[in-house]
């Protein structure tokens, strides 16, 4: 089996969300790419500091909603006019008003599916292992720590990056290596 090249990250912990956002902004301006932030709760200005492109989830949601709408309309049309035509109080077989509630519900359901699974897919979740978990201190990212990760070529000296992060206010800096999918 071919030996897999390990990936490495420099991980830095910050005490406050403001420090993390400002450090992320400055590291990005220095030209670092592929960074990511970790915080126990949603981070104000985090995506802007990382320079992330607009999310693609809304389009997946729209696609899901339209799929749901078309599915519901065709399903009800087929059932009520072809498969099992039933005269209800003399109303026409193709009674669109009666189908709107189902159409609405299915559009909402499929749009929600689009958001849920689209978000999981785009975030590459579920992901039970990531090399970042190699660092014991990284546990604080789910309670009180604000972390920044910067990709770093494996085996080279990370002292320069570490010093830069410390200068920006990092309280703890470490390097993790591991196999990334």
């Amino acid at each position: 089996m071919e030996a897999k090249v390990l990936d490495s990250w420099v991980m830095a912990e910050f005490a406050t969300p403001e420090a993390l956002v400002s450090a992320t902004q400055q590291m990005r301006e220095k030209g670092f790419q592929g960074m990511d932030t970790y915080s126990p709760y949603p981070l104000h200005g985090g995506s802007e500091a990382l320079g992330l492109p607009p999310s693609r989830v809304p389009f997946i949601a729209l696609g899901g909603g339209l799929t749901g709408m078309v599915t519901a309309l065709t399903m009800q049309t087929w059932m009520n006019t072809v498969d099992y035509p039933l005269n209800v109080g003399g109303r026409p077989l193709l009674s669109l008003p009666a189908w709107v509630p189902i159409t609405f519900e299915l559009s909402v359901l499929f749009a929600a599916f689009g958001i849920f699974f689209g978000l999981l897919g785009l975030s590459k979740l579920p992901q039970p292992y990531h090399p970042a978990f190699e660092s014991e201190e990284f546990r604080s990212a789910s309670t009180h720590g604000f972390w920044l990760s910067i990709p770093h070529p494996t085996g080279t000296d990370a002292a320069d990056v570490k010093n830069q992060l410390t200068a920006l206010g990092a309280t703890h800096v470490t390097v993790v290596s591991g196999e990334n999918e």
Partner: protein, 399 residues
């Protein structure tokens, strides 16, 4: 950046607005002597359109106080000014005294009563007389306007007092008062919609009708707020303080209430359509078939489908100028929607007809209302300068 002072430029706009309003109302009065029936319905449209926006702004204000919303504080004075305009409608409703008999078949001496035929129909009309009669109608109008004027004046006077005094206690008062006022506001606008619009067809009834009128008015109020905010550029005006996230929120609210309007409208329609009972079905029958059919379909697409998909775009909602264009369009569609509610009671099978008083009454009521709003806004700050949370509102970003 210069300091924000009290706005002194109102007379420049107030005089033309009042002038236009008075000319419109005078022409409408001329129309009354030429064609009293058509003029009565035109005036009802103009009146319900503008008073709906004013009361919706008041409800919106109370809701935001109840929710302790901070992002909109920079927009709040504009909303308060819209709400404080409500006394002018207490005067304008006096025109109902000569007009009512041409609008409502249930009033004594109405020429429309001649159309009520058959013992069963007469019996049903008779059963509604306890509610639908001139005296009780007048009492109800007095109650509605008393509630609206009281609530809007309380909130406005605390808010403007805070411009001088500052401090948290006046904010606390507004936030305590608003949730208590909301049930009264909700009931009054519901019954006002029943009285003004639903009783045009006395035998038709729909409990959700008040919400339908409210939904359209709410949408129009947000549109008007957006337009005012985009236009409020210049010395001592708050427009330059309003940033993209505020407009994005306004856009989201316009979008939400476009969907809400359709949701309520369809809920009302579905129940009537599926039950198909003789008292209710004719109201929709008139609009669904024959000469009103194409207009009903057009309203569905132009008041809901088109704006829904247009306003889905985030980019549009974040561009104030484009959003203002969409808001102007929705304000126009709200007028069309009210026309669709009111006019069939006048023209019936003849379909969508036009009478020139539709324009004069709309401009007349609107001009006087806008003029009065500007009269109230003169020499005031255009946003609550000493609200304790104003700084948070100014630096608001999307959560």
């Amino acid at each position: 950046m210069t300091a924000m002072e009290r706005y002194t430029g109102t007379p420049k706009l107030m005089v033309p607005a009042f002038g236009l309003g008075v000319v419109g109302l005078v022409l409408t009065a001329v129309g009354f002597f030429m064609n009293p029936e058509a003029t009565a319905f035109s005036y009802l449209l103009g009146f319900t359109y503008w008073v709906g926006i004013s009361v919706a702004a008041l409800i919106m204000l109370a809701i935001f106080h109840t929710a302790k919303a901070k992002w909109l504080i920079v927009l709040r004075r504009a909303m308060e000014t819209m709400a404080i305009t409500v006394p002018v409608f207490a005067v304008l409703i006096l025109a109902f005294i000569p007009l009512m008999k041409y609008l409502y078949p249930w009033i004594d001496g109405s020429p429309l009563a001649a159309h009520i035929h058959g013992i069963e129909v007469e019996h049903l009309h008779h059963k509604k007389e306890h509610y639908l009669n001139g005296g009780f109608f007048a009492v109800r109008q007095a109650i509605y306007f008393a509630v609206w004027i009281f609530v809007s004046h309380r909130l406005y006077s605390w808010s403007t007092k805070q411009d001088e005094a500052g401090g948290l206690d006046l904010t606390v008062k507004q936030r305590r008062f608003s949730p208590g006022a909301l049930p009264f506001l909700a009931l009054t606008i519901t019954f006002a919609a029943f009285d003004w619009l639903m009783s045009l067809t006395p035998l038709w009834q729909s409990t959700i009708f008040g919400v339908y009128y409210f939904a359209g008015s709410f949408l129009a109020a947000f549109c008007l707020l957006t337009i005012i905010t985009v236009q409020a550029q210049g010395k001592d005006l708050y427009g330059s303080l309003v940033k993209v996230p505020h407009f994005h929120n306004l856009g989201k609210l316009i979008f939400a209430f476009t969907a809400f309007w359709a949701y309520i409208g369809f809920s009302q329609f579905l129940l009537v359509w599926i039950a198909n009972i003789p008292e209710e079905a004719p109201w929709y029958g008139l609009r669904m078939y024959g000469s009103w059919r194409s207009m009903s379909i057009a309203i569905f697409f132009l008041h809901f489908v088109l704006p829904f998909f247009t306003l889905l775009s985030r980019k549009l909602k974040e561009k104030p100028r484009l959003l203002a264009v969409a808001a102007v369009y929705m304000l126009l569609m709200h007028a069309v929607d009210l026309y669709w509610l009111i006019w069939p009671a006048f023209s019936g099978e003849a379909g969508p007809t036009f009478h020139w008083t539709l324009i004069t009454a709309f401009v007349g009521v609107g001009g006087v209302a806008v003029g009065f709003a500007l009269f109230r806004a003169r020499n005031k700050y255009t946003f609550p300068v000493k609200d304790p949370y104003i700084a948070e509102s100014l630096r608001y970003v999307q959560p």
